[in-house]
Symmetry: C2
Subunit: 254 residues, 2 copies
């Protein structure tokens, strides 16, 4: 075990379910992996992902920078641990406890918790989720979404593609939310005031002839609210269409 890097990270990710035997000799550790991960998350939440440098995480824990390397192999792996920890913090119901019973409500629960998670930990938006950390948080999500979509009545062989389609839309909306939070903080400026600062654009540069449909939508007041409200409406709309489609395919096989 823990032969190559991949195995070492897996052991760290699943450290709670299967802790390695405590060392019987040698100097006592001042910290724990959990403490390091928690410190990393706290700093990233407060000051952004860049600020969660090894030096700053160590400083917050009151130890030297290099001390962290006894707990995690490198910063890359620390980020993986942070991501999986936060993914798991959504606390989606597992196989034992599974309210709500209506599958549509379960999807909305998943969506809501995911949006909240990205709002609370916006730095997630800056980390890729292809090749995700293979830890409890990641798998709790997959199990929840798969089991929910399976409850819609789809044949088992087509559950995965439907579940992934839902996940794609949900994470897309959630990551946009996260980016909004990030930009609001970094620029000290709300999304609306950003647009206000560029209000001259429409007179100085926008060409109505090149953009007839935009112009028509504009005159029909079709761009309701700010961009965040529009994105939220688009997400709600898209999710409704996806769920209706899945329900239709689940009810009667084509």
């Amino acid at each position: 075990m823990a032969e190559n890097d991949a195995d070492r990270v897996l052991a760290l990710l699943w450290r709670h379910r299967n802790p390695p035997p405590g060392a019987r000799t040698g100097r006592r550790p001042r910290l724990s992996v959990d403490a390091v991960v928690a410190a990393g998350v706290a700093i990233a939440d407060a000051e952004g992902l860049e600020a969660a440098s090894m030096a700053k995480v160590a400083a917050r824990l009151g130890v030297g920078t290099m001390t962290l390397y006894t707990y995690v192999p490198s910063r890359t792996e620390l980020l993986e641990l942070m991501v999986d920890h936060v993914l798991g913090s959504r606390d989606l119901p597992g196989p034992g406890d599974s309210p709500p019973s209506d599958w549509r409500d379960r999807i909305h629960l998943y969506a809501q918790r995911t949006l909240d998670m990205y709002r609370a930990h916006p730095w997630l938006s800056r980390i890729s989720t292809v090749r995700p950390p293979l830890g409890p948080g990641t798998f709790a999500e997959r199990e929840f979404v798969l089991s929910t979509v399976a409850g819609a009545g789809l044949p088992i062989g087509r559950v995965n593609e439907a579940a992934l389609a839902v996940t794609m839309l949900v994470t897309s909306a959630a990551r946009q939310e996260g980016e909004n939070v990030l930009l609001r903080r970094a620029s000290g400026q709300s999304n609306d005031s950003w647009w206000a600062e560029r209000s001259g654009f429409w007179e100085d540069w926008f060409d109505e002839e090149q953009h007839p449909t935009m112009t028509r939508v504009w005159h029909a007041d079709g761009f309701g609210g700010g961009t965040e409200e529009q994105a939220a409406a688009a997400f709600t709309y898209g999710l409704r269409l996806l769920l209706e489609g899945i329900a239709r395919e689940g009810a009667g096989p084509p």
Copy 2:
């Protein structure tokens, strides 16, 4: 004009449609904004976004680092120019020339070009698109998608939310593609071999009791292909559902 930063970037973004009068006096410029943007894109394509540093872009053009700052205000703005340039390079048909005529085919054209764009310029995946550059590339896309969705028969006031829903799903899939390319390069490892390296996970750590639906899907061979094929299938599926829903709402008002 060009009073604050925002105005300066707008002038640069739309430099082709409305070029500022050429200076009559002073030393002749060795470069042009276009050349700087092209060099930035070329480096980012070949070596990644980080590699497109001011120093490397300048080196490729054979000038000193600080010379670039006469052409673009800072690296941030250079990236905005690069993004809008690449967005425009999809060459989506404008209001004059608008094949294909079937709106569904037009959406597929948009999706295909966007996927290809992210594959060719994967660094786009690492740049946020909320608060996008307000340049010709961005607006050509919006106009194309909005006009296409309007062609489905939706009432004008609801076109935007449907168009944004489509964009959300398409960019989500495209950005995933981009990340795949990026990771393949950075790790020198295909997605499949990444999973292969972690094949021990299923025996060592995966808990079937905690993940009954995943297990069922697995035994039914429901995870077809690698993760990229799965993502592609999920995208196709999700897009079909969205378009069917939009078609239904366009055909008969609820």
